[in-house]
């Protein structure tokens, strides 16, 4: 008798996508947004072409979403700003999640380095964020890379702490000992047993990170430490538009909605993905679905 060990009917992701209409809709929409942001710019008016005489025009056929205080086309800026914002947020998320995960995993699992690493994290976190961001912005000049570094530096200790606390509880489980008995090296145990059990939390963290990245980008622009003009990001579009809340509300509403939509979609995808990665949550999800349908009283 032969039992398939790893082969399964379909990958869990594909299954989840098929099963969860919300997830597939959210994913499709996000993919659409990303595609639009990547493909569209060449077909739109230059996002940086200024025309101050035609500033603050309301939405019209010429300018789908109106113009901003420099007379630039808001739709073009929305699209190319999306490119920067989404790209930046993705990069920051990847970097911060990666460094945070590595630090959290290592310091939670190898107790020898834990005390030192965590004290450094503490000092790092207790350093006021504004100063950190400013010091970097001044030291390196306001550019996309500065912001990437600044936000990665800012977010890393938070992710690291959250991950570490979960690693600590996972590392205390018997199955970690069982893996050692099975002859697994610690580094591999970390990857095979600890990491997957930390992953659902990490996914939540990723969602939080990508949302925060977009929001903090806005906040940095708001404080004048964001990406150098004229490169648009949704964050600095809001910051620039805020003076015209009454005159030209679309300037702040449009990028605000864009941020919200993307973060919301990411959130939806993240929490559904989490069910995919975590079989226990998946089982619970099934249960809740069935209960909601009244299959089980």
């Amino acid at each position: 008798m032969s039992v398939p060990v790893s082969g399964r009917a379909a990958s869990p992701l594909a299954r989840a996508l098929r099963r969860n209409r919300l997830l597939s809709a959210a994913t499709a929409l996000l993919v659409l947004i990303v595609l639009a942001v990547v493909i569209l710019p060449p077909f739109l008016p230059d996002a940086n072409a200024t025309d101050p005489v035609h500033r603050l025009l309301p939405p019209s056929a010429d300018h789908l979403l109106g113009t901003d205080s420099y007379g630039r086309d808001v739709f073009s800026r929305l699209v190319s700003g999306g490119r920067t914002s989404l790209g930046l947020s993705a990069l920051i998320t990847v970097c911060a999640a990666f460094t945070g995960m590595v630090i959290g995993l290592v310091s939670g699992f190898y107790r020898a380095v834990d005390a030192v690493v965590m004290r450094i994290m503490d000092a790092w976190m207790s350093f006021p964020a504004i100063i950190l961001a400013m010091a970097l912005a001044i030291g390196l000049g306001a550019s996309i890379w500065t912001e990437l570094i600044a936000l990665t530096v800012l977010f890393t200790p938070f992710t690291a702490r959250v991950i570490r606390s979960r690693v600590l509880s996972v590392a205390a489980r018997q199955y970690i000992g069982a893996a050692r008995v099975s002859g697994m090296r610690p580094a591999k145990i970390l990857v095979v047993h600890v990491l997957p059990n930390v992953l659902p939390l990490a996914l939540v963290q990723v969602v939080i990170l990508s949302a925060s990245a977009m929001l903090v980008d806005g906040a940095m622009s708001f404080l004048g430490m964001g990406i150098a003009p004229p490169t648009p990001t949704w964050g600095n579009m809001i910051a620039e538009g805020r003076s015209y809340l009454v005159q030209a509300p679309w300037l702040i509403v449009v990028p605000g909605l864009a941020i919200m939509a993307c973060v919301l979609l990411l959130n939806l995808i993240g929490s559904s993905m989490r069910d995919v990665v975590d079989p226990r949550a998946r089982a619970l999800g099934d249960l809740q679905r069935l209960r909601a349908r009244g299959a089980a009283r």
Partner: protein
């Protein structure tokens, strides 16, 4: 919105009440010598007085001086002080106080420092007479004594004051209001000075003439955020504010708020770096830049429209007719990108070169101009790198590497009383624009004897500026204020609130 108050609907003055005024920053210091900030100056106007004060047209009028005499060689000035004037602490104003205050002004204030080389002696003669001897005649001396920084403080309060200025304890002047409390970062409260001795003359407007303190107290609330500034005005949290240009249109449309121009203006400038290493060390490059810049477009972006923007190349506000000169405006109005490109090439600035703009985020328009410049330079294939810093960082960066930047953006107060206060003159060290020709004209101005001559020299100076381009003027921004209809008697001169009252 109804425009500025007219005497007719104001009714009779009402005594009492507390006026709340929103200011964008804490004054940080109430010492007008150590801190040349706008908020300090405006609060200081109510606290302190000078020997002379400017009227509505920025002409000097006697304030603490009763009479003064000038010797025939125009080298000796004798000032007779008004009698019975007291400081807020009750001590009488004496010639000693004037000497001590002006000595400090000559030593530490930008304008004073321009005057100082010409001063031979400054001394008290008795209690009420001050003697000032000059090396050379100086036509604008009285105007300079009426400019911010020349306030008179009690001599005893100036002893041992550090370079950073005195604290709230030293904030004692002879003005109609005195300091009641100062909650740093939050608010400054002034209250009526009961023993204020007003001049008997009629109100000359501006800062001069008779002053009646109708309001019991004036509270300056620190409100840094532009939206909060406007919202608070609308919700009645304060009765007076000077919001940014971008808020103008919205406020103007608001029927429950009075919007009006305020005396004086700001001169908006692009500052090219003349130092070695800069792309604009060559005058042709500066001229090219002037040709390239689409000034109407850049002014449009500054917001407020024609109400707030005067498209003139003058360095001094129109409100000050004695110094206002539009000579050189034909250069100011030139706009020819093709020729600019040529000129740039001649000056060695080629397509593909990168112009380094440093700017600060202390005012939104700085970055706006930089971005627009960038776009215009891009049209003739010149690249730009914009570095936006906070103000001290920008100054520090420029200071550290004088050749490491090409352009920066700023604005200056254009309500001036003498050429020595003009940025084209005072910026000499900052961007290396000092030139013997300019210095010679300033000397020539000092030597004149009549307003007509003065105007002539001023025209020459203005023309020279458009030739050498130490700064390139974009426009003048008119200041404006927005206030509650309850505030009466306010004539739109800065934040001067004597002779104003609240009508309930």
């Amino acid at each position: 919105a109804p425009s500025a108050n007219t005497a007719a609907d104001a009714g009779p003055p009402v005594r009492g009440g507390n006026l709340i005024v929103a200011v964008p920053t804490d004054p940080q210091s109430l010492d007008m010598v150590a801190n040349p900030g706008q908020v300090t100056a405006h609060i200081g106007n109510l606290l302190y007085e000078k020997l002379f004060e400017v009227d509505k047209e920025f002409a000097a009028r006697p304030m603490l001086v009763e009479t003064y005499e000038t010797s025939s060689d125009r080298l000796t000035y004798t000032f007779e002080l008004r009698k019975g004037v007291t400081f807020h602490d009750g001590s009488p104003l004496t010639a000693e106080d004037v000497v001590a205050s002006l000595q400090r002004w000559l030593k530490s204030h930008v304008t004073g420092q321009q005057v100082a080389p010409d001063v031979v002696t400054l001394k008290a003669k008795g209690d009420d007479t001050v003697l000032l001897k000059l090396k050379e005649p100086r036509y604008p001396l009285i105007d300079e004594l009426a400019s911010p920084g020349a306030e008179i403080y009690a001599a005893k309060n100036l002893e041992g004051v550090p370079a950073t200025g005195f604290t709230d304890k030293g904030a004692i002047g002879t003005g109609p209001y005195k300091l009641a409390s100062w909650d740093i970062g939050r608010q400054v409260v002034l209250e009526r000075y009961g023993n204020y001795k007003s001049r008997a003359d009629q109100d000359w407007g501006g800062q001069a003439g008779a002053k009646q303190a109708y309001l019991d107290t004036i509270t300056y609330k620190v409100v840094a955020d532009q939206d909060a500034l406007v919202n608070g005005l609308q919700t009645g949290q304060w009765q007076h504010a000077m919001p940014g240009n971008d808020q103008y249109t919205a406020l103007k449309e608001n029927a429950s708020i009075v919007v009006g121009n305020v005396a004086g203006a700001n001169q908006n400038v692009i500052i090219p770096n003349h130092a070695k290493g800069s792309k604009f060390a060559d005058v042709r490059a500066r001229q090219a830049l002037n040709l390239l810049m689409d000034k109407p477009a850049m002014n449009a972006a500054t917001g407020g429209g024609p109400d707030l923007t005067a498209a003139v190349g003058a360095m001094v506000s129109e409100d000050n007719p004695a110094l206002y000169s539009t000579v050189g405006d034909e250069v100011y109005k030139q706009h020819d990108p093709a020729k600019a490109k040529e000129l740039f090439a001649q000056a060695g600035v080629k397509a593909g070169d990168t112009v380094r703009i440093v700017t600060s985020n202390s005012y939104p328009q700085f970055a706006q101009w930089a971005v627009l410049l960038q776009d215009q330079l891009a049209q003739i294939d010149i690249k730009t790198k914009i570095d936006t810093y906070d103000f001290p960082t920008m100054l520090g960066t420029i200071n550290k590497d004088p050749g490491g930047w090409d352009l920066t953006t700023l604005f200056f107060n254009a309500a001036l009383t003498s050429p020595s206060q003009m940025p084209a003159v005072t910026l000499g060290a900052f961007n290396g624009s000092a030139s013997p020709e300019i210095a010679a004209l300033v000397r020539e101005y000092n030597a004149v004897t009549s307003p007509v001559q003065a105007k002539e020299v001023m025209d020459k100076l203005q023309a020279l500026v458009w030739e050498q381009l130490p700064v390139i003027t974009l426009s003048q921004s008119r200041l404006y204020a927005a206030w509650s209809p309850e505030l009466k008697g306010y004539d739109g001169f800065y934040r001067v609130f004597w002779n104003s009252w609240l009508k309930r």
